[in-house]
Symmetry: D2
Subunit: 497 residues, 4 copies
Amino acid sequence: MQQRSVTHHCGLFGIYGHDEAVFLTHLGLHALQHRGQESAAIVSSNGQTLQKRGGMGLVKDVFTRRDLGEIHGHMAIGHVRYSTTGSCSDVNVQPLLFSCAAGPVAIAHNGNLINAALLRRQYEDFGHIFQTTNDTEVIIHLLAKPAHQSRQNPLVHVLNHLQGAYSLLLLFPDRMVAVRDPLGFRPLCLGRLGGAVVVASETNAFDLVDAEYERDVEPGEIVTISDEGVQSRRFGGDVPHTAACIFEQIYFADPSSRVFGENVHLVRVAMGARLAEESPADGDLVVPIPTCAQCAAIGFSRQTGIPYGRAFTTSHYAGRSFIMPTQSERDTAVKMKLNVIKDAVAGRRLVVVEDSVVRGTTTRGKISALRRAGAKEIHLRVASPPIRHGCYFGIDFPQQDKLVAYQRSVEEVRAFLEVDSLAYLSLEGMLSCVRMPPRDYCTACFSGRYPIDVTEPVDKFSLERRQLRMFGSAGADVPGPPAGAGRRAVPGAVSTP
Amino acid sequence: MQQRSVTHHCGLFGIYGHDEAVFLTHLGLHALQHRGQESAAIVSSNGQTLQKRGGMGLVKDVFTRRDLGEIHGHMAIGHVRYSTTGSCSDVNVQPLLFSCAAGPVAIAHNGNLINAALLRRQYEDFGHIFQTTNDTEVIIHLLAKPAHQSRQNPLVHVLNHLQGAYSLLLLFPDRMVAVRDPLGFRPLCLGRLGGAVVVASETNAFDLVDAEYERDVEPGEIVTISDEGVQSRRFGGDVPHTAACIFEQIYFADPSSRVFGENVHLVRVAMGARLAEESPADGDLVVPIPTCAQCAAIGFSRQTGIPYGRAFTTSHYAGRSFIMPTQSERDTAVKMKLNVIKDAVAGRRLVVVEDSVVRGTTTRGKISALRRAGAKEIHLRVASPPIRHGCYFGIDFPQQDKLVAYQRSVEEVRAFLEVDSLAYLSLEGMLSCVRMPPRDYCTACFSGRYPIDVTEPVDKFSLERRQLRMFGSAGADVPGPPAGAGRRAVPGAVSTP
Amino acid sequence: MQQRSVTHHCGLFGIYGHDEAVFLTHLGLHALQHRGQESAAIVSSNGQTLQKRGGMGLVKDVFTRRDLGEIHGHMAIGHVRYSTTGSCSDVNVQPLLFSCAAGPVAIAHNGNLINAALLRRQYEDFGHIFQTTNDTEVIIHLLAKPAHQSRQNPLVHVLNHLQGAYSLLLLFPDRMVAVRDPLGFRPLCLGRLGGAVVVASETNAFDLVDAEYERDVEPGEIVTISDEGVQSRRFGGDVPHTAACIFEQIYFADPSSRVFGENVHLVRVAMGARLAEESPADGDLVVPIPTCAQCAAIGFSRQTGIPYGRAFTTSHYAGRSFIMPTQSERDTAVKMKLNVIKDAVAGRRLVVVEDSVVRGTTTRGKISALRRAGAKEIHLRVASPPIRHGCYFGIDFPQQDKLVAYQRSVEEVRAFLEVDSLAYLSLEGMLSCVRMPPRDYCTACFSGRYPIDVTEPVDKFSLERRQLRMFGSAGADVPGPPAGAGRRAVPGAVSTP
Amino acid sequence: MQQRSVTHHCGLFGIYGHDEAVFLTHLGLHALQHRGQESAAIVSSNGQTLQKRGGMGLVKDVFTRRDLGEIHGHMAIGHVRYSTTGSCSDVNVQPLLFSCAAGPVAIAHNGNLINAALLRRQYEDFGHIFQTTNDTEVIIHLLAKPAHQSRQNPLVHVLNHLQGAYSLLLLFPDRMVAVRDPLGFRPLCLGRLGGAVVVASETNAFDLVDAEYERDVEPGEIVTISDEGVQSRRFGGDVPHTAACIFEQIYFADPSSRVFGENVHLVRVAMGARLAEESPADGDLVVPIPTCAQCAAIGFSRQTGIPYGRAFTTSHYAGRSFIMPTQSERDTAVKMKLNVIKDAVAGRRLVVVEDSVVRGTTTRGKISALRRAGAKEIHLRVASPPIRHGCYFGIDFPQQDKLVAYQRSVEEVRAFLEVDSLAYLSLEGMLSCVRMPPRDYCTACFSGRYPIDVTEPVDKFSLERRQLRMFGSAGADVPGPPAGAGRRAVPGAVSTP
């Protein structure tokens, strides 16, 4: 686990059939904290009533012991979420909790729906009202629709409307339901803790609560856990291949987790070794950029025989700093977290290993610090291919033109980062280090090959950016809707504390 | 203003056309704090976007300066709310903020809808989802309905569906709308602050922001304030009489406010005087139970010539106390707020004036304290009639059998309160002290004559108490719905932090 | 009790011989909150160890239940303190807790020592170090002095060094000691709660903990409470008369308290009546400036027969307000606390009763508000004489030239306050309303007759304002010490969080 | 930097001659946070007045931006402190700030005085009072003594009274003084930041504020920084050798720091390599116990050629957890911080490298976790000798009988830790990895050879544990003082919030 800088992501945890369901969910969310630091919440059920506690912030700060004692039940689901400041708001804290004709329901979502804006517009036209700005709320509207409720299997019917990435946990008064979309973009695992069933985005959450990993929820599978046991259904029909997010292996998941059927640390070590094979470097020391790249650096060192070393120390206490007006807040924040070990670096030829490079600015800052500390040569090796494309399936990459490798050659990136040499792992090399066939991974951020057609570009703010048509007024449209954004302008930004 | 013990109530404030709309709304809510201490929030509009800040607690605690600086606009509405612990929850904090096809909208409500549960069930059956447990959300669902939106005047059409008490403030991106139900249960006033228009539950909020009172929003009136000025529409048709809540005059409103067209303090003084006429008492001193009953005691003293005095001091600092296990938390809390002035009381014959008696327990405690301090005689005079009936229009009285005067004669109440004599103001006497004709006031809590037929008893928890039918399951009803509560069991309790 | 604006004061509470000593002290401090709102702390003893909890703020905010559970013992003393912002600091929070050769000791002080600066200088010259900026610390230094400890009765010996006003509570591991200076400036009372002994600045604290008032600690008395019972000693020799602070009766003390042997409320009522005798006024209504002046207004009304009324309502919720840049923060704060009842005031001839007038600015603001509300005439009657002199004995009056009556005739004050007529209670009139002979009261703030010679003017910041001489340096004095302020410049301002 | 479990330590930072002295000190304390997490404070001087801000907790939590803006000056000193719960208290937060005859002074101390209790007793007998329970306060009492102040050089005179370890920073209104005891137990470094002079316990603080390391303060050196520049004096006479704490190199200091003239990381790598030479092991992977032992593991891997690997991931978010009653809080806390990478460990022969083993319980827990994850063999290599003796010079080791190696052979420790083999680095091996001659290091915790005679055992609570003699009473001693603990019983425990 490490502190992340540029990503949008979520983590899910659920448990059914344990007297301490709420406390265990709280622990599980701790383990998944690296998947989302913006908000955290838990919804429990005692068989009849759903209760929610949570808010904005880290798991350790959001919940008090009193909070956890106030909600009860033998089942619970929890969620951690990351997003950038603009759209963070209490009302968006998941799991979302609603009431509809069929009763109360809570939902937690990891992923991104590419047709959420379209569905929302349709439902608003039916007279539905929306209280959040996230794409998850639309799933509940679909579920609540009487025409859907009257179906043999309402949930399957609803899921068939959704397009995009979604690992879901739903909590009804009497049952917990885990869903993974047919392409299986995001991980979701099943485990056992004595007689209880646990579900989590990553297996490291099982380790913390002493649960045993059992299997992954399969792409296109609905797992329903109730007093009648664990029941599995399939939906979504036959898909020729899945689209597991390779970036989970490269960067997101905790190294101790098993994701998509294999251990993240070992995958990363293999990628580092493969990178060394493809693009060896001559140096005195292999050093990782802390702390994500340790695994890849271990692989690189092992393959090349160049000794593994440290160039940085990391502070565990870094918090806000109140800096002088003349300082750069960003630089200070980085320096508070990382300090170069000058004597280990001065006069050395360094092979610096990084897991991935997104904007390049942070990496450049660290390279520059190494240079100032007296490094003689710096050879950067990146254990993944250049990122050149946006993600529509749950990762919050910056806009495409902010990606350092966008429309830049490797040599141009090298010049930008001011290193003596630069090499990326090849797409093929990367895919050779994982278990499943290449076509079963989504590599869109590297390759631009999207597993689902993405005609209308959506980004995190698309639900918020839609513009206003006045209530009961003659539809005088305020400037805004991009041509083709829909047959008419749609309602406006809503932000709540 | 004083600290209230047994009531459920709300206060509304809005302003249109002022650069400091948010700060002024914040001030206005301070003035209305006595109408609701559970939660407070503000929604502003800058013409395009609605933004909300607020939370659980007192106005002074809920908002930080930063909060107020983060939301912008030249119009804003605010709300303070009281309810008992069980159902207090962030998600219920008003103004509620939603998005629907016609755009974003915020709503703040003072009152109570008696057909809310019914309407909610209908809408849930249409597939709508609900996020709060309060009756206000249903209004937005009605507004969002396409069939309603397509009407010539959607808001009028929607209001015609509502049954009960509602003073409303709605905020759309481009306008503020103030509504008072056709029977005018709850007050709502219009004022001016320079070029800006202000709306508030009570005129004391105008005083604090230096606005001028202009007139009341009329029962059955919709006032729309926008760039096109202040426009008034009527709805609800002809009603033979109104139903202004007489309890606003007796207890709720601040003595400095003008409510239903006349000053609260003067009304209370008149009631005290009339009480003295109807039921004089022989004593050395007229003392009010602090602090509400001061006005009535002044009237009583003036009418009888018995000197006005003080029997208690009140602490302004009373907060939580951490008491010993052997103490009664409730008793200590009362004692921390009120202390008897023993030397003023000992050996005296006291005429104690109270504005109203609800449960009787608090009054009995105070009487008992006076007795222990050595009062020779205690004659209790209550400046309103006995409360014997529940309220369905926005006051949170306890259950009927908790009312001290329920099925008790005045003599039985006297014995319970342990006073030497007891008299209440007569219904006629009370109504003779106010300006409008008797039939234009709702006196249901005293008389049992409800201005609207209330067949299905509703209370504050009725929306929360409805029971569960499982999602997609065969409708196995959990025990619960009272016979005749509806054609089927309906969905369940939802509580959120 | 009311919120005070211009005063510096403290409150003491102690209890010996009760298992719940800490919780009861906490309650007692609640009752005394009106005597000091800046800080609060409690020190307990379990017979061996002294433990302290407390901090800056109101009693209700300073202590958590956990705090109170962490300190133990069958005896405890507590202190509430008021002072202006400049010098408020954690390190000054009383009771002060120290360790010296004779063991640990805690001390709480109400009053002001006029020779503290002198004594402090002497002790610093002996090599002592000081950690606080308040005058209380010097008492401990005197106590710790071996020459004093070797005396037959160290405490008596030490007290004989002190000049000024001091009601003290000291806590040693095995006993609690209550002291009142020989002139008895500040009140201090003894009571019983079952087998326990309680001490408090005012008897209203006894009421809250259900203790019985027994007697005052006498001027020049040391009361020691230990396992050997309650022992009394005298010190300070014969004094011809005492100097009980008359301002306690006029303004400080809670109306329900018994102070200097009589009830505060009744004293104030008598002063109001006497004022009416001396300076009647023709008017329609007698109204108090809330909330202190209620008692005097009752007396005035009773004496004149002019009806008692209300001109203001007061908010119990007033807190910080975040005002607009264009507003005056001070005006808004006042308005948030008080609102004029316009309809009760308009067109009326008001006799406004105030207990005392210090700076005059607040009173002027309230008068102005009444005028704007339409009062026809305003006759101000002040139930104490003009304040024209500073206090050196524990009241934090503003500097002399800030007193509205300083070098102003009554007519000039009337003009400043913009009232139609103004009258103060005479010194003789005031003294005729209290029990003890006139010479036993300190009336210095009115009369300028100080009961102790005050040659060197001291104010609250005198200990902080002394200037620096550098350590080990050649005594290069920084500019500062007023000529004659002492034989040399002395060390400097120390402020801590 | 890493989270420490068993140590007592402090960090110092000071700066003279910079407009942003307070903000830079705040940053410097961030860098030194690993040296103390219990409390943090800063004292600044503007040439005349000393001001303090700080409190209990981490640097990031203790200070608000407002705090830092409220204290001013071009010089400042700061302190971070660690101690166990029992004695943590606001009053002990360093730098301590006092006022004495010579003026105000602040002091910050890293180390431990072995004659503090003795000196304190003497001063209490002179009549001095103490407000803290830490040994630092006594230094101020010595400084304040007139006999000392009259000396040519008061500070030198005072330091000659002190026995033990002390790196000090003192702040007077006009100057900053840095002191290192004659044996130089604790580090203290001088640097430059433009025209400003900086002082810090470790050079990594210089890196964060962009200062340049210049030299160490020498053992027995007083460095005075004022407007007259940097002046150096010697004190303490000739000492045959110094006593630099070798544990700073092994565990305390940040790997990026230069301590006692050489880089900590490189020393640790050398120790790991030397350990491999002395006690090689046959295994598949060399893995460090996170995160301190990384450096030594790198050295071990490099020397043996066995690949470096990871066995654990560490969480950066670990905070309090609210656990179930049936869980062990301690185990959960460890698991929240560390998770085993099962797939990297299962079936492998691990060479686990640890920097040092104190109690052994935490190490045993981690070994056990590796075993449960399926490690085939576990060979533990500890890069320092067995710890068998207490420290009297500033490290808070547990009591001797809690040390795992106390009275246990290496084989017995191996059995306790349940590893397949165990080897420690030899004392000679350890000393061969550092720059200075062996006799210039204190190795007492390993060797039992104390550089100063320690006849009277002192521990952290010795100042608090002394017992009570009653004030003014006949010295009835409460049970307590160990025989020989002093000529008489001395005063008692004082604890404050």
